[in-house]
């Protein structure tokens, strides 16, 4: 999970917050998004494609590609690149990256 190619630039403005990623508390900084946090943590994929089951990772980081889908605060299919980190936010990765099913409505 560590040792990825991404690291944050030295910064002084972001307020430190605690985000829970796959059950583990991690330090994040106000102003970054869940997607950049996950990349910095070394996630090489966030979820799996619901049609092909292949791993998916962000491509555009601006809300267009839907490669960064994961479950944020129990909302499956969230676009991690559009969600700013905040204290107590929970993130789950690795699942099929889709919105609700008939059995688990949104």
């Amino acid at each position: 999970m560590s040792g990825g190619v991404w690291r944050s630039l030295p910064r002084t403005d972001g307020i430190p917050v605690e985000v829970v990623v796959d059950g583990l508390p991690v330090r994040a900084y106000g102003g970054e998004t869940v997607a950049t946090l996950l990349l910095r943590l070394g996630h090489d994929h966030f979820g799996r494609h619901p049609g092909t089951d292949r791993p998916m990772a962000p491509w555009c980081l601006m809300g267009s590609c839907f490669g960064c889908l994961c479950t944020i605060d129990d909302r499956p299919g969230s676009q991690a690149c559009l969600v700013p980190v905040s204290d107590g936010l929970t993130v789950r990765t690795g699942a099929s990256a889709v919105a609700g099913s008939p059995d688990t409505p949104l």
Partner: protein, 389 residues
């Protein structure tokens, strides 16, 4: 693809097809597979290119409610679709055809009564076996589509319906055409077709030159009327706008084809089936988007809260009665017209039996029911003609 089109050194094609959408591309590949040397004229995509906006149904039920020949053609095409899709699959993808059967879901008893009446009308005109569509009750609907909500009281089911990826199909056709040794693709908008004389070829003019061909098929959708008139062809088609709403990817809940909701291979949903007569205008509107979404959520309540990612509008190519127009010119023998609104459904037939009729020069006699001569007939004459077809 092919370089700039020039006639220097280019042999006269057996058949030139004007229009490289789903109709023209399927015909071109079919003609080439029958042994013809084909030149396909591709004007490229524009705003009114129907093949870029398709929903992707292979839809048999409801086709030819009063014209058995259309019901049978649609059914034959659906039956040929699996083989057609297999013939196009390559390392870059497939048409993603799924022969799942299809449902038209009734919301409320009034709609179901309307469906029943339409089915009844069809049975009076056509043979019951023409498309095997039947009314299903709420219980059978829930067996086939468990996710429907309480307002879904039944519907129509047809085992021959299915769905496919329309852009995937178009791209697979184009890949097959570019590879085919008897096909030349000319990337140009044909501005005019000059009829030939006895044993002289047609000349298809474009901005950078021309194409010569012994025979020519106009398959240009909304571009057909301006080209057809000079060839003695009657391409009376009008645009009907359909709007499509695309959602984020959702968990699997719908394998069967459904006329208003299609879950694509990517997991996104296409929602649609709006119909508006607004001329050549592909804009989307809030009111159509709202009504499409409202129906989708009434049909499948668990979709409330699913996010919309984009919308588009596209223009169906509709003849006055909604049926295809297949015509061979009597004034300029060798010139033909093929146009229809069901470019996906009929793609498999266009690539096989209709292409064969073009190569054999037997379009008019094999598809008499689709001649534009029907527009000049009275209702009684038309009924008599289609019973014979």
């Amino acid at each position: 693809m092919s370089g700039p089109a020039t006639e220097a050194g280019q042999a006269t094609a057996d058949i030139a097809i004007v229009g490289a959408g789903l109709v023209g591309a399927a015909l071109a590949l079919g003609c080439a597979r029958q042994g013809a040397r084909v030149t396909l004229c591709d004007a490229g995509e524009d705003r009114f290119h129907a093949s870029a906006g398709n929903f992707g149904l292979v839809w048999v039920q409801g086709k030819g409610q009063t014209v058995p020949a259309y019901a049978r053609l649609s059914r034959r095409s659906a039956a040929a679709w699996a083989g057609f899709a297999d013939s196009l699959a390559d390392e870059h993808g497939t048409p993603a055809y799924a022969g799942t059967g299809g449902v038209k879901i009734a919301l409320g008893q009034d709609e179901l009564n309307g469906f029943a009446a339409a089915l009844d009308r069809m049975r009076h005109r056509a043979e019951p076996t023409d498309n095997d569509t039947r009314l299903i009750d709420a219980r059978e609907l829930r067996e086939r589509v468990p996710a429907v909500g309480p307002d879904a009281v039944g519907g129509l089911f047809c085992p021959h319906d299915g769905h496919a990826d329309p852009l995937g199909t178009l791209h697979a056709l184009h890949r097959a055409l570019v590879r085919h040794p008897r096909v030349r693709v000319v990337r140009a908008r044909i501005e005019r077709v000059l009829p030939g004389g006895t044993d002289a070829p047609f000349t298809l003019q474009h901005a950078a030159g021309g194409v010569r061909a012994a025979r020519v098929v106009i398959a240009a959708g909304h571009g057909a009327p301006t080209l057809a008139a000079a060839l003695g062809l009657d391409a009376r088609v009008r645009p009907q706008r359909g709007q499509i709403v695309v959602t984020e990817r959702v968990a699997p809940f719908l394998d069967i084809a459904c006329h208003t909701v299609r879950r694509t291979g990517d997991g996104t949903l296409l929602l649609g089936d709006s119909k508006e007569d607004v001329g050549f205008d592909v804009r989307t509107t809030g009111s159509a988007t709202r009504s499409i979404l409202a129906r989708a959520v009434r049909t499948f309540p668990h979709l409330a809260g699913v996010r919309v990612v984009r919308t588009w509008g596209a223009l169906r190519v509709l003849s006055p009665d909604g049926l295809p127009i297949y015509q061979a010119s009597t004034r300029h023998p060798g010139a033909s017209l093929v146009t229809c609104h069901s470019g996906v459904t009929l793609a498999a037939s266009h690539a096989t039996e209709v292409a064969r009729a073009l190569v054999d020069d037997r379009l008019a006699e094999r598809y008499a029911a689709f001649s534009p001569a029907r527009f000049a007939l009275t209702g009684d004459e038309r009924a008599a003609g289609t019973r014979a077809a």
